[in-house]
Amino acid sequence: MNKEQIKKIILGAFGVIGLLYVYFAFFLGPLNKSRYSMAGRMAELQNKLISSKAEIANVARLEANARAATARYDALLAFYPEGAPIAWFPPRIRMFFSNQQIDKSSARLEGTTGFTGKELSSWNKYSWIIDLPQSDFGTLGRALAALENSEPLLSVTRLRIHATTEDPEFQQVSLTALTIIGKK
């Protein structure tokens, strides 16, 4: 091979290298890049679709399992009427004790607090003071039992019974009751 031919070979080799570079850098590279990104997106969507099917099935199962809880929740929510509790709770208590042969009774709101926990964020805690100025012990016991059984969301936190000197048959009673009432 003479010098001229070697020059031509080197030139040809450069040409081939240039061709390969142009092909990989400007043609195949972008094409593959976009193909890989599409494949990635496709895999992601496929995973989402599979997990979404599982999630929908889980919700259906949860719905079936939560039927009892939902019914109980609705029942507890419907346990108290709508409106401000201060408007209906005292008359309700008066009516209750009147039905239990305790004619004199009064209820007043002591305070309201919300719950800090997430579970009861839509419920409020109401503290009531219920005064029964004239009640005998036996009747009070029966009325209290009836109250505790008929009002599941009511808990008596303080009970004071004081015997009066004027009428030893009767006692003065004061109850502090806590009720949990849903915000409607």
């Binding site: 419920w123 016991g141 505790e148 969301l153």
Partner: protein, 220 residues
């Protein structure tokens, strides 16, 4: 053997040189390579197009499924909220302390020569400990013994269901005045008994300390 003379030697060698021209050869190689690369490019483009078609089909499916999934997620969150709320409310309902049975037990312990004048019961918010203070008057030949009988009976009655109950005297003092019981004037004593119990706590195991106190009682 006949003699052969090649008179076109130069022309033939030039022709050979032209055929072996490296530039020409490299051009052929380059053209071949370019053809192969073009084929490869077309193959890759075809694959990309098929992936694109597949991707658009999946995207269509996802656009249909996405609202359902969002709705399902919301519903799941709502249902989990309802379940946890119901559980918390049920826990509140189950953990309530019922006062009526306690009043019944107290009434069972009150004998005709004993009168309770004040009852103050309280459930502590944090510890859930229930403390009941009973204030009253006991009358009899030995009024302190009457009050002690009341305390013992109360401990027995409440202790049936609440073994960890404590029934203690906070005060017990003789009164100067006499009280008429069944037509007889007898001395009286004023007492304050404190009952404390925690329905959530378990019964303490009987340890040597308890045995000691029992033996002390027996001795006295």
């Amino acid at each position: 053997m006949p003699l052969q003379l090649n008179l076109l030697h130069e022309e033939i060698s030039q022709e050979r040189q032209r055929k072996r021209d490296p530039l020409k050869l490299s051009m052929y190689v380059a053209a071949g390579l370019a053809g192969l690369l073009a084929l490869n490019y077309l193959w890759c483009a075809y694959r990309k197009l098929s992936i694109k078609a597949h991707l658009s089909a999946i995207e269509r499916d996802w656009s249909k499924a996405e609202p359902q999934v969002t709705e399902a997620q919301k519903r799941a969150e709502q249902l989990n909220g309802i379940i946890s709320t119901t559980m918390t409310l049920d826990q509140f309902i189950d953990n309530r302390f019922f006062w009526a049975p306690m009043l019944e037990k107290i009434s069972r312990c009150v004998t005709p020569n004993l009168q309770i004048t004040n009852l103050d019961g309280l459930i502590e918010d944090q510890s859930k400990t229930i403390t009941i203070s009973l204030e009253g008057t006991a009358a009899g030949r030995e009024p302190r013994a009457v009050a002690e009988d009341f305390r013992q009976m109360l401990l027995e009655q409440v202790g049936k269901e609440q073994p960890a109950v404590k029934v203690e005297f906070k005060a017990l003092e003789d009164l100067d005045t006499l009280i008429s019981v069944g037509g007889n004037n007898v001395p009286a004593a004023h007492f304050i008994v404190s009952v404390s119990l925690n329905p959530e706590s378990k019964a303490p195991a009987s340890g040597p300390g308890e045995r000691k106190s029992k033996s002390k009682k027996e001795e006295s």
